[in-house]
């Protein structure tokens, strides 16, 4: 399973590598680079932060949804932003996790569930 992790804070990269050990992870620190890669490679899952330098996570999400081949890619939002529960429905994302409240086990379980469903 190939997972794109889009988060501009590099300190989180090591964390994701350890928590999601066993998955094929590609890291992107801005949305432009991630979208460029998605032109060539369709990920099985996207783990997306919202507050990024450059295009926000919402912009990336909207962009993905505008392409038929990417529209169905499951997205897990992992962000420090406190979001409404309905956001998952509004944007059609698989899950929304709060960086300040989630646990590593919850993150891994969420990713496993998305990958199983994919």
């Amino acid at each position: 399973m190939r997972i794109f992790v889009i988060d501009d804070d590099r300190m989180w990269e090591d964390y994701y590598r350890r928590v999601l050990r066993g998955y094929d992870l590609d890291f992107f620190h801005d949305g432009v680079a991630a979208m460029a890669e998605m032109d060539d490679v369709r990920p099985d899952l996207v783990v997306l932060d919202l507050l990024l330098v450059g295009p926000t996570g919402f912009a990336i999400l909207n962009e993905m949804r505008s392409y038929p081949e990417l529209a169905s890619v499951p997205v897990v939002i992992v962000s420090s932003v406190e979001l409404r529960d309905e956001l998952a429905d509004d944007y059609g994302v698989a899950a929304v996790l709060d960086k300040s409240k989630m646990t590593p086990r919850e993150l891994r379980a969420c990713v496993e569930e998305c990958c199983c469903a994919a």
Partner: protein, 238 residues
């Protein structure tokens, strides 16, 4: 904390306090996640690495809190000006930050071109200025080239201490505010934790206190933030 740090009041809590809370939420969230993830580690090296990351992240957050406390106490004139060797200060900062840069998959190098003069500064405040410049470069610098801590002589009897990054251009609005010397609030470089521009705000305050010129140069491929400091009349003993 003083009102000039806090900024305008909004919703019962000042905007500055909101920025500070936002800034500190990022390292606190990361430290919590790293601590929780320790249970996933089954070898000593992995545990040590996570421990080092927690320490580096907490030290960075603590330094930011300490700097904000210093900003609040600037008016008390607690920070005496003295002859300071800028190379020694920059060496200290680089030594302090190399591990944090490594965890961020970044590099930091030095490029000293000044003759060995002392500058008139407060050592603690100059350290904070350079530290905050470096953190800014770490957050916004590109991945291909290392950020550089540079010291050079100026023609006007000053020495420039600068940090050069190879990241995206600073927004024109921010550039203008700094150029005009209007840095009275954290500058929002990007709306995300850790990017409120708090470090630049702190650096500008400390530079102003030391009578240094604070500014930035926009390059085609990045930005240099700098302070120009008065050369001390005292001969360098180094």
């Amino acid at each position: 904390m003083k009102s000039e740090v806090i900024g305008s009041s909004a919703g019962g809590l000042s905007s500055g306090a909101v920025v500070v809370a936002h800034e500190l939420k990022a390292p606190l969230s990361l430290m919590r996640q790293l601590a929780l993830s320790l249970e996933l580690e089954d070898d000593k090296a992995g545990v040590k690495r996570v421990g080092d990351q927690i320490v580096a992240t907490s030290e960075r957050a603590l330094r930011q809190v300490n700097d904000l406390l210093k900003v609040a106490r600037l008016d008390d004139a607690l920070f005496e000006m003295e002859p300071v060797n800028p190379r020694a200060v920059c060496d200290d900062v680089v030594s302090e930050l190399w591990q944090l840069f490594r965890f961020n998959r970044r590099e930091l190098k030095i490029d000293y071109r000044n003759r060995r003069h002392l500058v008139v500064a407060n050592r603690q405040l100059l350290h904070s200025v350079v530290y905050n410049f470096c953190l800014n470069a770490m957050n916004y610098g590109g991945e291909e080239l290392p950020s550089e801590v540079m010291i050079s002589d100026r023609k006007n009897g000053r020495i420039r201490v600068a940090v050069r990054d190879y990241g995206p251009a600073v927004p024109t609005r921010i550039w203008r505010e700094i150029k005009d010397g209007f840095v009275n609030r954290p500058l929002e470089i990007a709306m995300r934790p850790g990017s409120s521009g708090m470090g630049l705000y702190i650096a500008a305050k400390f530079a102003n206190y030391m009578g240094a010129d604070f500014g930035l140069i926009r390059h085609r491929d990045g930005t240099s933030f700098y302070v120009d400091l008065q050369i001390s009349g005292q001969l360098s003993l180094v």
